[in-house]
Amino acid sequence: MSAPGLPQPPALVEVRDLVKDFPVRRGVVFQRDAGTVRAVDGISFDVRRGETLGLVGESGCGKSTTARLVTRLLTPTAGTIAYDGRDVSTLGRRELLPLRREMQLVFQDPYASLNPRMTIGAIVGEPLRIHRIGSGAQERRARVRELLDRVGLDPEHHNRYPHEFSGGQRQRVGIARAIALGPRLIVADEPVSALDVSIQAQILALLRELQADLGLTILFIAHDLAVVRHACDRVAVMREGRIVELADADTLYAAPQHPYTRALLDAVPRMPRPD
């Protein structure tokens, strides 16, 4: 992104020594705590303005928890999260509300993340309604149509329901909803894992376009190093709640340092090069 050696702009997100514990509950009726699971074990990283940072790891490594912590859907047990220079680690719901316009999540499962009882127009328009964007319902409707078009969907389909769309299209709806408020940060939690490979490429291309047009910063969470290779400027590899390696993409793929990174790279099947 920025040339090395020049002063870097301050990072959009700064995470320091972040820890998240979840209580383990025993029993069904009378539950009591029987210890904790440490999902995130003291991680630190920056997400620089305008970059795409990849966060890669296998299931249970804590990457999804990290995504939810950064967007403050969860409260950290310890450590700090700073957004645009401001400490947001312990803000309450009220104070977080304006922040929600700035950071949005895109989810993995296009089948589960859209409310099946709402039309896609309503889904995309809901954030506008909640944050009272636009001077009225009419203006909001126009914005919804604009958004649908922006992500490659037919605006005329705004009153159709999610089940009438394919997985890739639903993922586009999720993205439209995420950019509706004009956020600066998008946290994409495995946005293409549930899609066919040719559709994956479509969504990746869409994200790339939107990033360039809207000046987005993206935290891209994935379990597959091949998928993030092109999209990410820097990549962090997570394992068991810790970041084991963080490097810019060229370096990471060319000369991985940590054995786990190497194991992940080896796991990607080798294909003969097409002529």
């Binding site: 296998e58 299931s59 066919d196 379990h223 060229d250 796991a267 099947p269 294909m271 097409p274």
Partner: protein
């Protein structure tokens, strides 16, 4: 060439639904010789899962299902065979492994019991002998401490272990053909590699033939001898693995390759999407089914429905009317 173990000719499977007739498999032919591995590659809606489920006889009795064509396995006519004949083959000479081992294993029975059941369904042995066999198979499938694991319930095992159990269960009666439907898709990346290795090893040790169904070209690159690419219920290209991946003859295969993220090549060469979406199985496009999305499509493509023709180096076949030269133009 020796008699193929599995010979599928012009298989057609359709389902009557309230929205119309869904032609899930619309004229598919392939064969597998003993000891060989065929990879069937396709995205969602290509019909690949329905095709192999039909080989196993699992689509019989599905509501509104119509099955036509020829299906021969080891001398049995699977289309016209009685239910009992099919049942005796299933889990015995013809076995299948499914995608999601968490939901594919019965949650309320111990793993060992499920394996023993698989043995005793086809072999007249007592419980003890069956248990020994089951435990041996678990060990062969790379499950550590198999004796202890036999007592476990599926939810007590990790994803990789569960898939090993499924594989052990499928192979316990030493089938001649194993069908694996997306066996690694639900697993972590590092585990995927292990499972593929396991399948390849067992295939060699048991001298089995294998059909591997997947959407991931990387998977077939690793394990398959031959590949068939499916799109919209048809096979659009076949050939040995290496030539197919190096010089694909059908624009769809080529599109799939280009949209697969790779670890080699320049980082700024992003995966190239295939425009559009797969067609509806109820109303496929006229002419070539891929033509609306094909970057090389010409006028005749909308009118002519191509059949598989020899292409490339002669071992390959593709269902495309365009001469190789035109298809070549699309390559960067």
């Amino acid at each position: 060439m020796s008699e193929p173990l599995l010979d599928v000719r012009d298989l057609r499977v359709s389902f009557a639904t309230p929205d119309g007739l869904v032609r899930a498999v619309d004229g598919v032919s392939f064969s597998v010789a003993p000891g060989r591995t065929l990879g069937i590659v396709g995205e969602s809606g290509s019909g690949k899962s329905v095709a192999v489920s039909t080989v196993m006889g699992l689509t019989r009795g599905a509501r509104g299902a119509t099955i036509a064509g020829e299906l021969r396995f080891a001398g049995h006519d699977l289309i016209h065979a009685g239910d009992e004949e099919l049942r005796r083959l299933r889990g015995n000479e013809l076995a299948m492994v499914f995608q999601d081992p968490m939901s594919s294993l019965h949650p309320l029975f111990r793993v060992g019991d499920q394996l023993v059941e698989a043995v005793r369904a086809h072999r007249p042995v007592g419980r003890r002998a069956a248990r020994i066999r089951a435990q041996d198979m678990l060990g062969l499938a790379g499950v550590p401490e198999p004796g202890r694991r036999m007592e476990a319930y599926p939810h007590e095992l990790s994803g990789g272990l569960r898939q090993r159990v499924m594989i052990a269960m499928a192979l316990v009666n030493e089938p001649r053909l194993l069908i694996a439907d997306e066996p690694t898709t639900a697993l972590d990346v590092t585990v995927q590699a292990q499972i593929l290795e396991l399948l390849a090893r067992l295939r060699d040790e048991l001298g089995m033939a294998m059909v591997l169904v997947t959407h991931d070209l990387g998977v077939v690159a690793q394990v398959a001898d031959d590949v068939a690419v499916m799109y919209a219920g048809r096979i659009v290209e076949t050939g040995p693995t290496r030539p197919l991946l190096r010089t694909p003859q059908h624009p769809y295969t080529w599109g799939l390759l280009r949209s697969t993220p790779r670890l080699d090549g320049p980082r700024d060469a992003w995966p190239v999407p295939i425009a559009g979406r797969p067609p509806s199985p109820i109303a496929p496009p006229a002419g070539c089914r891929f033509h609306p999305r094909c970057p090389s499509a010409l006028a005749p493509c909308a009118a002519i429905d191509p059949v598989l023709q020899p292409a490339g180096d002669g071992t390959q076949r593709a269902a495309c009317i365009l001469p190789a030269a035109v298809r070549e133009e699309e390559r960067p």
